[in-house]
């Protein structure tokens, strides 16, 4: 557990980066620091591994003041990932990852074996091990950065906007990967971002900061989105925070209408199920093919109730030409449909009960 006790940082030029922070970062969970640029997120993060020394107050790691620990030794026990990955350009990927184990005195073979394990863990193909950082894409470099931070199996992981330099698609993939990893490893993660979307997606707890590292709100993502502490936080969350909140609610509360088999004469070609003027065409294995009306054909927006969020269900219902979202199972076979009205009903119900904190099981993507 990390504990900030009145930790403050005033720079020699008089700039107050952090005025005095009291915060507990619980072990084994992900705590996200989010806030506008210059509000002191990086400073707070770097106080933990002594890359920044507080000018007042202290930071405790499992009860010990970090100032009392030798800096290099402390840092070898804390994973650290930064925005630009910061890989050593003259070392192969595998040796980049093996850096901390080597510093800790492991022999080369053991360190490399461990590094290879980690590359696999972060989803990099084995052939990347022999490459140099410049021969990887930005997203791959970021994965190597995460692998390097995890190499010596540190209980604490500090991540400073690790995914902000990659494109949105790659970022989403990396976030997904981090959630999976965290589900497996259960590290104490302190994660900095200025992207509220990322914060609510990754955090078990989100700390919204304002100027000088002052806490504007500390809450779980759902509470944050549905009950911002004040107008400032609400403004920071943005206008569509209601929609974002839907992204945190599971879609399994949407009532589904069973498929009416409605066998058609050409059974071998699958089935056609009528919805108003539209027909839903299924292939022989039961997977949706398209919505048809006369000669018109449209793709079928779907959602997976057990995995997706209410937002995904709403999206599917809005995009479907017939107004019916098609629910599919993990194999992509249609299991039912939900009309726009049905989805909206589920939304209303979710918001009625939605003021309490969701349990992790309820949060899509966050099952641990």
């Amino acid at each position: 557990m990390i504990r900030f006790e009145g930790a403050a940082k005033r720079h020699p030029d008089g700039t107050v980066a952090v005025r005095g922070l009291d915060l507990e970062v619980p072990a084994g969970r992900t705590t996200v620091l989010v806030g506008p640029s210059g509000c002191g997120k990086t400073t707070i993060l770097r106080m933990v591994n002594r890359m920044v020394e507080p000018t007042a107050g202290r930071v405790l790691l499992d009860g010990t003041d970090v100032a009392a620990l030798p800096a290099a030794g402390l840092r070898r026990g804390i994973g650290y990932v930064i925005q630009q990955a910061g890989l050593f350009p003259h070392r192969r990927v595998i040796d980049n990852v093996a850096t901390v184990p080597r510093l800790l005195g492991w022999d080369r073979r053991r360190a490399r074996a461990r590094a290879a394990e980690l590359l696999e863990l972060v989803g990099l193909p084995p052939e990347t091990a022999r490459r140099y950082p410049a021969q990887l894409s930005g997203g791959q470099q970021q994965r190597v950065g995460v692998a390097r931070a995890l190499a010596a199996d540190p209980p604490v992981l500090l991540m400073d906007e690790p995914f902000s330099a990659v494109d949105p698609l790659v970022r989403a993939g990396l976030q997904e990967e981090l959630l999976r990893l965290q589900g497996e490893l259960g590290k104490t993660v302190l994660f900095v971002t200025h992207d509220i979307e990322e914060a609510v997606r990754l955090g078990d707890r989100v700390v919204v900061l304002r100027e000088h590292g002052e806490i504007a709100q500390l809450a779980d993502p759902h509470t944050l989105l549905t009950a911002p502490a004040d107008a400032g936080v609400a403004a920071f969350l943005g206008r569509d925070r209601g929609l974002r909140g839907l992204g945190l609610r599971p879609a399994d509360s949407v009532p589904l209408t069973g498929l009416d088999p409605a066998p058609t004469p050409d059974l071998d070609l699958g089935r056609r199920i009528p919805y108003g003027g539209w027909e839903l065409a299924l292939d022989p294995s039961g997977r949706p093919e398209h919505w048809t009306r006369g000669a018109e054909r449209h793709p079928v927006p779907v959602f997976v109730p057990s995995r997706d969020s209410l937002r995904a269900a709403l999206d599917a219902a809005l995009l479907a030409p017939s107004g019916h979202a098609v629910a599919v199972d993990a194999e992509g076979r249609a299991v039912g449909t939900a009309s726009r009205a049905a989805v909206v009903e589920a939304l209303a119900a979710a918001n009625g009960t939605g003021t309490g904190a969701p349990t992790p099981e309820q949060v899509p993507h966050a099952g641990r």
């Binding site: 840092r75 070898r76 910061g86 050593f88």
Partner: protein, 251 residues
């Protein structure tokens, strides 16, 4: 007679085949005190430059040294050293050493200073100490710049070492000076040509080393790329298959 004929005469002269005035002997002499001057200079300039570049303190010193060095007349320096120290090794070594220092000092400081700050930050952040960060991260990253500095110094020293002959030391300069003194142009031209060839050979050797020192991967950061392509062309096609392994003694 044209200069090709002179060259033929120079090479055909039995005195240039063996003995104390042989080409091999003069070449080795030349290399020996060039290497000595470079080695001494590197011993001081490189560590100092690395420390200055890493700490960011004393950069004004680097700029000043570089400026003064550019203005110093080497021949004048040699003459002055001879007047002060008398004819002998020191008289030549001292100015040559002084000549070699500025490019290496500047390259070491600039190279280390140019290390990607994110890489340095990450190195410190994952637990490398300052010496480890300097030696394991900054120096390898700065290697191409560093080698370019050593190359400049080497070429300057090798060219200037020709004047060593003025004060009675050997080296390829002997041919040039003796040839001029006795109006034996074949010897002068031959000597001059050998100096040029040696300088070019050393250039090529360093071009190869610099290539080897740069980490593979085309997409280096713009900062390091700008530095890496700063020197003269390093076309692999111009690198000889077996470069003369002559300046290996230089640390």
């Amino acid at each position: 007679m044209n200069w090709l004929g002179w060259l033929h005469d120079f090479l055909a002269d039995p005195a240039h085949r063996s003995g104390p005035d042989s080409i091999v002997h003069r070449l080795l002499e030349h290399l020996a005190f060039s290497a000595e001057a470079l080695g001494l200079s590197a011993l001081v300039a490189l560590p100092l430059g690395l420390l200055i570049g890493y700490s960011g303190r004393g950069l004004f010193l680097v700029t000043a040294v570089a400026g003064v060095a550019r203005a110093l007349p080497t021949l004048g320096l040699v003459t002055l050293a001879v007047l002060l120290a008398g004819v002998g090794d020191t008289a030549v070594l001292l100015p040559l050493t002084a000549l070699a220092a500025p490019p290496m000092l500047v390259a070491a400081a600039e190279g280390v200073r140019g290390t990607d700050p994110d890489v340095r930050d990450a190195a410190r952040g994952i637990g490398l100490t300052h010496p480890q960060t300097l030696l394991r991260v900054c120096v390898p990253a700065a290697a191409p710049t560093l080698l370019a500095g050593v190359r400049t110094a080497s070429v300057q020293v090798i060219a200037t070492a020709t004047v060593a002959a003025y004060v009675g030391l050997g080296g390829l300069g002997r041919y040039v000076i003796d040839g001029l003194a006795t109006r034996n142009y074949p010897t002068t031209v031959g000597g001059a040509l050998l100096v040029v060839l040696l300088a070019v050979g050393v250039q090529l050797l360093f071009a190869l080393l610099i290539r080897l020192a740069a980490p593979p991967g085309a997409r280096s950061s713009p900062r390091t790329r700008a530095r890496r392509t700063g020197g003269p062309s390093e076309d692999p096609a111009t690198v000889p298959a077996s470069p003369p392994a002559l300046v290996k003694e230089v640390p």
